[in-house]
């Protein structure tokens, strides 16, 4: 078993899913011979042929909409949107159709599709290529929103997403596509959806994050540990439906929460978690909840990108603040 990156894990899961279920097909722009601009679908065309790996015309609305039609026919489309910045043309199809096909037909038709897209900043990409807008999808009832933050979780969660009988938006933190490698067994084992993952146990403060920020959070936890602060780190992983219990239990234990997201703060998904704590975890809070988040401004172009992104230092600073309360 060799160590693989998150990107390779995505590729592995796609291959596994296509192998095990002939209804699974991959579609999107440049997913065929090019293997996707990040190579997530590399080799799939050669392995599964043109009937199952479809290069589409440049048409995001139709990519999402035809996936609804394919899924209604019992196929399992896994559509790639090249960057999250181009996913907005899919919003209408996702909210008005994919998320509700089962509901509006009282179960007659359903929509087992996956919409994959890389998201987030930190790689010095061009304009419109670095945003994090997961909160938009997390607010759409009937969808699942899943974000892996390690190769193993990418593999297990993507398999789960593809096998799931309902539509899943699967957002891949491209900043860590190649940043971390770990051993991942290609054993076809899916991970649970609707489940937060506790990556590190701790007693002083709960650090709650998802996507690429999980790496920064783990690094911060490491540093803090060295300074005698015991951090519990939770990867939210599934933003909708959300495993509130794991989060509440952690904060009930530590009494302090810092939520770390890359997206703009205002109305972001971090707010949902803070709200959860304010509603159902308040009595156990020993300090105000803190969010470390992107600024409420447009993601800057690469030259200022670093100054925009939350980082280990800003996490540590936030943790220090919440520790001041007792």
């Amino acid at each position: 078993m060799t160590e693989i990156s998150l990107l390779e894990a995505v590729n592995l899961a796609l291959g596994q899913a296509m192998e095990e279920d002939a209804q699974v097909l991959v579609l999107g722009e440049d997913v065929g011979i090019d293997g996707g601009v990040f190579r997530a679908t590399d080799g799939l065309l050669a392995r599964f042929g043109e009937q199952r790996v479809l290069d589409t015309p440049l048409a995001e609305t139709t990519i999402a909409g035809m996936s609804v039609g394919l899924a209604a026919q019992g196929m399992r489309p896994v559509a790639e949107i090249q960057f999250m910045g181009f996913i907005y043309s899919c919003v209408d199809q996702m909210i008005n159709h994919a998320s509700r096909l089962r509901n509006r037909t009282r179960g007659r038709l359903s929509c087992p599709m996956v919409l994959r897209a890389p998201f987030g900043g930190g790689i010095g990409a061009p304009e419109h290529h670095s945003e994090s807008m997961e909160a938009l999808f997390a607010h759409m009832p009937g969808l699942r929103v899943v974000i892996p933050s390690s190769p193993a979780r990418a593999y297990g969660l993507l398999l789960a997403a593809i096998r799931d009988p309902d539509p899943v938006v699967f957002l891949e933190p491209k900043r860590i596509y190649r940043a971390i490698k770990e051993e991942v067994a290609d054993d076809g084992k899916a991970l649970a959806l609707d489940c937060c993952y506790r990556l590190r146990e701790g007693t002083d403060v709960s650090l709650i994050s998802w996507g690429a920020m999980v790496m920064e959070t783990l690094a911060a936890a490491e540093t803090l540990e060295a300074n005698g602060v015991s951090c519990e780190v939770i990867d939210v992983a599934t933003l909708n439906p959300l495993d509130a219990e794991t989060l509440l239990a952690s904060v009930a234990k530590t009494g302090r929460a810092v939520i770390i997201q890359e997206a703009p703060r205002h109305g972001g998904f971090g707010a949902q978690i803070a709200a959860l704590l304010a509603e159902r975890g308040l009595l156990g809070l020993r300090a105000p909840v803190r969010q470390v988040a992107g600024y409420d401004t447009i993601m800057p172009l690469p030259r200022l990108e670093k100054s925009y992104m939350p980082n280990t230092e800003s996490i540590i600073a936030a943790v220090s603040e919440v520790l001041e309360f007792d």
Binding site: P57, T61, G69, H97, N103, R106, L109
Partner: protein, 361 residues
């Protein structure tokens, strides 16, 4: 300067507005029973629409879009389909839905505000009504792609309005259908209006049929008040599709004789004279005239079929009105295949609230 591509759009009609035969009829149009069947479906649709509007006016139905005057397009296109084909409607194709096997009760439930109306007992693969204009075309592409990938001998028919042709969604879907040569027939039900916006304001294109040229496949116009023309064009297009000829576009020219919906007042934006002149060309009278002159249709038959349709509709209305409201838990029962654990709490809260509200009643 050399010419590198040329295109034309043709128009066809068999019965003119007076019901006179103006072109050699296709074989199916020799079949009296078939023509009477077409007539009956159109009549049923008109009776349904009339009744539905009354129900709405008396507070027993929600907002409803009558298809008055457009019955030939709707019935004709569906009549050309095989049961195994898949229909992807807009929101004003009750005629087609009936022919496909959707029951009047189901449609009343839907427009009466009950999701069960889209759980068709008949055509299980057909899509429900599409309210977001044009969004259905991409679904049709997906279904046609599934059919093509599986090498099945069936096809998809996607209906849309003239207004819908302005949506990028429609063009995008048509273009993909063309690129992949999918078995998919697009039918534009051009009823001259999109709420208050006339067809002429929607686009500078002389015909809507030519929208297909941008997508690389043929488009043609038919007289949409001539059900023989509609059915024939759809027949041919479907056959082309089944033979691997790729997508086809049919623009059926008709007229919306009623308001846009029961929430609309068309008098605000169009002249009564325009409407009455179009009554001269409406599809039922036209086919009836032809049936009378060529197939021995008489007053007795007419009265019998009207009575029959009315009875069917009244029964549907009764069934609709007698259908109890769903349990509130239905709100969650079909959200996901299985209710995710994190939603259990809300589900319980809802049930509790419903119980309380019932107590109060």
């Amino acid at each position: 300067m050399v010419t590198v591509a040329q295109f034309k759009v043709s128009f066809s009609r068999f019965l003119d507005a007076t019901g006179a035969v103006v072109a050699e009829l296709p074989p199916f149009a020799q079949d009296s029973e078939l023509l009477k069947d077409l007539y009956r479906w159109m009549l049923l649709t008109r009776e349904f629409d009339t009744r539905a509007v009354t129900l709405q006016r008396t507070g027993q139905l929600g907002t409803f879009p009558s298809s008055l005057g457009q019955e030939a397009v709707s019935v004709g296109l569906a009549h050309a389909m095989q049961p195994t084909d898949v229909f992807v409607p807009s929101f004003r194709e009750q005629g087609a839905q009936f022919v496909r096997g959707v029951s009047p009760t189901e449609l009343l439930l839907y427009w009466g505000g009950d999701e069960r109306g889209s759980d068709f007992a008949g055509p299980r693969e057909d899509f429900p009504v599409s309210v977001p204009v044009g969004s259905q075309a991409a679904h049709a592409v997906g279904i046609a792609l599934a059919i093509k990938l599986r090498r099945e001998n069936r096809a998809v028919v996607c209906a849309l309005g003239d207004g819908a042709t302005s949506k990028g969604d429609i063009y995008e879907a048509m273009n993909v259908a063309g690129a992949w040569q999918l078995p998919l027939v697009f039918i534009i039900n051009n009823n001259a209006w999109a709420i208050s916006v006339p067809r002429s304001a929607q686009t500078a294109a002389e015909t809507l049929a030519q929208k297909a040229i941008a997508a690389g496949f043929p488009g043609e116009q038919v007289d949409g008040n001539d059900i023989i023309a509609v059915r024939h064009a759809t027949d041919c297009a479907l056959q082309q599709c089944r033979e691997g000829g790729g997508p086809q576009l049919i623009e059926a020219i008709t007229y919306r004789l009623g308001d846009h919906t029961t929430a609309d007042d068309a008098a605000r934006y169009r002249q009564e004279e325009e409407v009455s002149s179009h009554w001269q060309a409406e599809p039922l009278a036209r086919l009836r005239t032809h049936l009378s002159s060529a197939h021995g249709w008489d007053r007795d038959q007419e009265e019998a079929v009207i009575a029959d349709c009315r009875e069917q509709i009244e029964q549907a209305v009764a069934d609709y009105l007698a259908t109890p409201v769903q349990d509130t838990s239905a709100m969650f029962d079909y959200l996901y295949a299985e209710l995710p654990a994190p939603l259990a709490e809300q589900y319980q809260a809802l049930q509790q609230r419903s119980a309380q509200e019932q107590d109060h009643d």
